[in-house]
Symmetry: C2
Subunit: 344 residues, 2 copies
């Protein structure tokens, strides 16, 4: 068969009109059960598949969603899996688009994708400026049929990030537990400032230290400051090397496991023991981290679940439904050797 069968072919074979075939497949018109069954049988037997381009032209629905990610984040594949799962269950296909550059450039690229109107909705995993985002509070009718754009992480008016993956409350838990265990000298190895998650963890660290300083029981806390500013473990290693000999005993809160690994390496190179002279926490539950010596205390983030939730928010926006309620946190602390024997 040179061309795939169309609804006309099915109609001819089933001895009905083409419209009847359409009704049988969409289940929309009024049609007798017997006719529907016969049509569906014929459709099945000839391997009929509706031409989605034609359907889309009539319905003005494309059934396509786009997920925008950055070029490098390893964990985003898991987010994509979760998002794709939910979208598929709702009858949508998802396409992945990669954007890069400054936040303005990324925003422009998302805007261009939305203007192409090929998708019913766009979920962006990379932060973009809020002006491209759809006002989900507005009635769907007021949206001009424009593509709905929803972000996993976005910025509030203070450029603080919002979104599941930017939740940094575990940092406060780390600091408090380490204070409880007797630690008083702290250091934060931060990620790059452009990353919402990195900023959130840094801010949470500074807030936790400030809280500790205010509490009479821990007023003798001292922060050696915030170092780093990239996801490079080399920067973390060098930061450790640059510390004064008097630094230990030291508690380091690293913005992720990679930086924590750099910290451990730097400490080892100076002959500092871990978790003796230096304790350290990471983030992401990197698979290798559990097999470091000492194994890494970290935050296990359920990226797949975060992807599912983000997609649920997008779907709700596309349909004009109320946004789903926020679920339980997707982050869970995993205590291991790098913070010493104490557990909260």
């Amino acid at each position: 068969m040179p061309n795939p069968p169309t609804s006309h072919d099915v109609a001819r074979i089933a001895g009905v009109s083409q419209a009847t075939v359409s009704y049988a497949l969409t289940g929309r018109g009024t049609i007798s059960a017997a006719t529907r069954e016969r049509v569906l049988e014929v459709a099945e037997s000839v391997g009929y598949r509706p031409n989605l381009a034609a359907r889309s032209m009539r319905t003005r629905r494309t059934g396509r969603l786009a997920v925008v990610s950055g070029p490098t984040l390893d964990h985003q594949l898991r987010v994509l899996v979760g998002a794709g799962e939910i979208a598929a269950a709702a009858g949508y296909t998802t396409e992945t688009h990669t954007v890069d550059g400054t936040i303005e450039e990324r925003t422009d690229q998302v805007r261009a994708l939305a203007d192409a109107r090929q998708h019913e909705g766009i979920l962006t995993l990379v932060p973009v400026l809020p002006h491209v985002l759809t006002d989900v509070a507005a009635a769907p009718g007021e949206r001009d049929g424009a593509t709905v754009v929803v972000a996993e992480a976005t910025f509030d008016e203070h450029m603080r990030s919002l979104g599941e993956l930017a939740d940094a409350t575990a940092v406060g838990v780390f600091v408090e537990a380490l204070l409880q265990a007797g630690h008083r000298r702290f250091l934060h190895v931060a990620g790059p400032d452009q990353f919402a998650s990195a900023r959130a963890r840094r801010d949470a660290y500074l807030a936790a230290i400030e809280r500790a300083a205010t509490d009479p029981a821990t007023a003798d806390v001292v922060s050696l400051g915030v170092v780093g500013g990239s996801w490079s473990p080399e920067a973390a290693r060098l930061a450790l090397r640059a510390l004064p000999d008097s630094a230990p005993p030291l508690a380091v809160v690293a913005a992720n496991d990679l930086l924590a690994a750099g910290v451990l390496r730097g400490a080892a190179e100076r002959g500092w023991t871990a978790p003796g002279d230096v304790v350290v926490t990471g983030w992401d539950d990197d698979a290798v981290g559990a097999y470091l010596t000492p194994s890494l205390t970290t935050v296990d983030v359920d990226f797949t679940e975060a992807g599912r939730r983000a997609m649920q928010r997008l779907l709700a926006a596309v349909r004009g439904d109320d946004p789903p309620e926020r679920g339980a946190a997707v982050a869970r602390i995993v205590w291991r050797e790098s913070t010493g024997p104490q557990r909260p």
Copy 2:
């Protein structure tokens, strides 16, 4: 504007027929430069975007490609980035689909995707049975307009895997270099058998040992066998724990960095030094691996480049061109501390 402008709207404003607008945009018909320019100006000014569903219905081309991946492989995001880059440059959009299950189930899922005929081509990164793959040697005209399916990794008649990412020649280099450095006792920690790459590395290990045994200079080589069979570092750690006390000095070829980390941990737990009692090699150039103590000798795989090449093969097949020539290897050995001071 309630609906986006169509070519009719542009035609009306520009004072030409709708067909002329189409010619101006596709650059296909015979049309005066002046008219074309005027039409393009109007199109630009009203923000005209061709309706791709309508275009697709006429041209029978969708401009869409699909990339099929598994649900878990972290590195595949980089492959996707490379593949998407090439596809976008060729004017295609790429969609990501995830399949799971046995090889038969995955094959069926790819088949269903192809049968839907929504894509001009499908690139599968997960191995599938060869019968879904398009015979790229056949003339495009003989393909019935069916969706072209190309695999990154596939199986030859001996179920050996083919494809950039299954190239395991670095294993032979590891074994030879370690033999040269005086090592004679070897162990392979294998990945899961379902993975083409894992099988390729295991086979390359066995072949290298056999070669060494044949060579008079290294005939005293002894392999303690092949252990493991999953990507779990825990399995690797336990494998080390299960070794006899007499195992060292031992050279371990692990199927990836994660397993190598498990090996190092297991060795440390037994009080074996690395790279003294035990040397180990990994694979993938995991970011944390470089900061382990000892840092991990590994294989840096350019996943993005592998993705680019795979997509180039798909595009060639879609267009009916000859497949592109195989480029230089995408894998590069990175020697670090875990194999000791010797370098080949």
